[in-house]
Amino acid sequence: MAGLLARERIVAKPGFNRWLVPPAALAIHLSIGMAYGFSVFWLPLSRAVGITAPITCPDTMSFFQRMVATTCDWKISTLGWMFTLFFVFLGSSAAVFGRWLEHAGPRKAGVVAAFCWGGGFMISALGVHLHEIWLLWLGSGVIGGCGLGLGYISPVSTLIKWFPDRRGMATGMAIMGFGGGAMIGAPLADILMKHYATATSIGVEETFITMGAIYFVAMMAGAFGYRIPPAEWSTAGWAAHHRALTTEHAARRSGMITARHVHVDQAWKTPQFWLLWGVLCLNVSAGIGVIGMASPMIQEVFGGRLIDLPRVPFSALNETQKAQLATIGAAFAALLSLFNIAGRISWASLSDYIGRKRTYFIFFALGAALYASAPTAGRTGHAALFVALFCLILTMYGGGFATIPAYLADIFGTQFVGAIHGRLLTAWSVAGILGPVLVNYIREYQIDRGVPTAQAYNVTMYVLAGLLVLGFFCNLALRPVDERYYMTDEELTRERGLLAAAGKS
């Protein structure tokens, strides 16, 4: 088995078609992307004991007693901790195991990710069976979260090496899969839960087992589909361009794309790493906050205007009208998710033509303007404009994720781009906490001070615009890495020798 996974075994033979690598990467990203769709399990799991309705735990029960209680149901807020665990462990595992991945190769990393993600579902199924919440946190949250991190970064370096001429497009295709995973997983989970549900079971345990098996097979197929290019492989035109970059004059002219390499242990000591960390963190913090509040936001901002009751605020609507608004809110969230994945492939591909720095300039300048315009669209009742603004914002949120690996490859070279990307993903973990906390806190603070709910998001929008302005300056400050951080030819030869030795083990 170890030989089968070795880096040496996956070097592509002459004539291999590089277009086979993106679907392999997509198989993994579409599987782990289900992390975004886990909320589909919250409502059924919140009545795992009561089946038809939740059985509330007594107030006298402590936090730890609730964790192992089998006679009363879990709260949705307790289950929601899984999201936090997902993103914390995604970032941490990508940062910790990124360097190992560069040596072990993408297939071994993909297989480990498949065991973690698929196995996490199995442990969670056991947690549902025994009604032990800590098993769900451990299974899907911690172990599954490590699978997320490894699976997410596993194809990055490989794709960039296969597509030196289309770095953005190649990584954009894979990262689009992460955004699209929940679109497949959430309706599939819904179908499976309905299929397995009985008078004595909510069907989640069987659904976890089925989905765990499906994801395991899909991710293993993806991992075994990975091939790395032989050392001498390149596209003809790119090879000529690459050679030109090695001259000092051409390097100066090309500006932000290096033909050299920075070691992962040096990369995080450069100001460029931390500027890019800020770029990712600020872009994600703004977008993730919107994703979390999209549905309630449109309902509260427009209230009755969404259902031809222009003078009725959200708080004055009856239950039937609120149900109508909830459907519209869910539709808005669904539309945003479509624009999120569309932005991943389109912006990342566009960045191959206009350059990474210009692409992020657009994200931050246009994004800030759009956030700042949202309160006006809300105040004047232009729902279509409001929806259009946020659709465009979400394309740039997705585009930010998908373009960052190519930006890293441009700045730090391709030798350690997977490992450097892994470390940069800690910015996502921070943003995953910062964005929603910021948005929720400001909204509640506004409401507590007597601001009507329709206007409670205005300050939030200006704060998010401010985050993007900060991101704009981080991007503006980015310059090529200082000469002293690049690997020397001897260091590069030694590193490649180590890789070859690791590949044979």
Binding site: G15, W19, G225, A330, A331
Partner: protein
């Protein structure tokens, strides 16, 4: 943009494999996007 070196071009048979691989990931993705579009359509009613 640079052109591909003809000596690295894959044999014709590999393009069939490419089509199968893309279908395997493309069909579920299109199904997911279609489901989401149906859900999003409520916004325009």
């Amino acid at each position: 943009m640079p052109e591909i070196d003809p000596s690295t071009q894959p044999p014709a048979g590999q393009w069939g494999l490419v089509a199968v691989a893309w279908l395997l990931v493309g069909v579920p993705l299109v199904w997911g996007v279609w489901n989401t579009l149906l859900k999003a359509a409520a916004l325009f009613h």
